[in-house]
């Protein structure tokens, strides 16, 4: 009889750990859901409108786009001139390529990874880090701005020329 009770204790511990982990994982999102949206984060990581970014690129500012997605995603479509730096590489890679940048914009599809990328860049001391207002390359595309990649067969140079024309046309 005593040996039959032992599995029950370990099962209770197992269920208890699972419940505690679930509660711990759900808690931040639950707090966020009930507290409602807040834009306080934008004071730390500014949001910049996609078209404004395009205009700043066209004006000759050194805006460096960091694509934190996987290489296969980067190859499919990307903001023209973006650097492929998957999120997992941002923690330790050499960031000297960002020296002197007027603005550094980390992005992904909807900026879940993009925001983590921007947070990592700030943590590593990179100044002037921002994210795309509306989040990610999806917003960039939704606003009609051109992308390069295998999906549309455009090179970075072609897409960049299109960006200059698009921004210059003011459409």
């Amino acid at each position: 009889m005593a040996s039959r009770r032992k599995p029950a204790l370990s099962i209770t511990i197992l269920y208890g750990i699972a419940t505690a982990l679930t509660a711990a994982m759900a808690m931040p999102a639950a707090i966020e859901t009930f507290r409602g949206r807040s834009d306080a984060w934008a004071s730390v990581t500014p949001r910049v409108d996609a078209r404004e970014l395009g205009a700043r690129v066209a004006a000759g500012e050194r805006v460096v786009f960091i694509d934190v997605r996987e290489p296969a995603e980067f190859a499919e479509f990307r903001i023209p001139g973006a650097l492929a730096m998957p999120l997992r590489t941002l923690y330790t890679c050499d960031l000297s390529v960002l020296d002197g940048a007027d603005l550094v914009v980390a992005y992904c599809l909807k900026d879940f990874r993009g925001f983590e990328g921007s947070k990592t860049l700030i943590r590593r001391g990179i100044p002037n880090v921002a994210v795309i207002d509306g989040f990610g390359i999806k917003t960039w595309k939704k606003q009609g701005l051109p992308v390069a990649g295998t999906f549309n067969g455009k090179s970075d140079a072609e897409a960049r020329a299109e960006l200059m024309a698009f921004v210059g046309g003011g459409s």
């Binding site: 040996s3 999102a29 966020e32 996987e70 499919e76 999120l87």
Partner: protein, 243 residues
């Protein structure tokens, strides 16, 4: 046996050895889950950051989705090991049957496998301001690479649900064949591995990547061992019948 039952009077060497083996097993199993979580915590920085409001909508749910995935993957691996070699492992751990542990751990595993995409749905819904579950539960593999890998993960989840339901109801409905259907969980592991290695945030950071590959290779080796054991038992049975 009497010595084990009366452990509160004396701790016999046999009991001490059993406790040691169980502690070792629990530590190894725990390590498989804790190691990726350690790398995750190193990657994201202070976790308390996500209790405040200094992040865009949905970011906290997205951040918590990642450890849920690590835990789920580790548990699926443990379940495969326990399931494929239940008898020798049960003997080593001094358990009369692995079934109760395997069943209950299986439910916990399924829970974390579901929690991973549920947190992602929560994240996407908070980010977009509307309930957004299609991309998570019915991704389009033709859309782009990322959605293709989400599709692989979704397939893994559905295969696992199917395998677990087979184990829950199969013994009653199809006592001869439910194990065959339940073994779809091996396929689920393979798909989950592909999904994790392709789009996981920590799964290409060492030592998590090495651990994932070690788990995948182990599952292949254990499968081969399982088939070899089953074949040798069948051969022995055939020889016994013929003699």
């Amino acid at each position: 046996m009497t010595q084990l039952v009366n452990h509160h009077l004396t701790v016999s060497p046999a009991h001490r050895s059993l406790l040691g083996r169980r502690t070792l097993a629990a530590s190894v199993a725990g390590g498989l889950v804790v190691l990726p979580l350690g790398v995750y915590l190193w990657a994201i920085g202070p976790l308390g950051y996500y209790i405040g409001s200094e992040f865009p909508a949905g970011q906290s749910a997205y951040i918590m989705m990642r450890p849920a995935g690590h835990i789920a993957f580790g548990l699926v691996f443990i379940q495969l090991v326990l399931g494929m070699h239940a008898r020798p492992i049960g003997r080593w751990l001094g358990l009369a049957s692995m079934a109760p542990l395997h069943r209950r751990l299986g439910l916990v595993t399924l829970w974390f496998v579901l929690l991973h995409p549920l947190l992602f749905v929560w994240a996407r819904s908070l980010r977009s301001g509307q309930f957004d579950f299609i991309v998570t539960f019915a991704p389009n593999p033709l859309e782009n690479y990322w959605e293709r890998m989400l599709f692989v993960g979704a397939l893994a989840m559905y295969a696992l649900i199917f395998g677990v339901v087979a184990a829950l109801y199969g013994p009653r409905l199809a006592p001869r064949y439910w194990r065959v259907v339940h073994s779809v969980n091996v396929l689920a592991f393979g798909l989950a591995f592909w999904h994790a290695i392709s789009v996981g945030s920590e799964t290409r950071l060492q030592p998590v990547e090495a651990l994932h590959w070690a788990m995948a290779v182990s599952v292949c080796a254990l499968l081969i061992l399982r088939f070899a054991r089953a074949a040798s038992e069948r051969l022995r049975g055939a020889e016994d019948r013929s003699s």
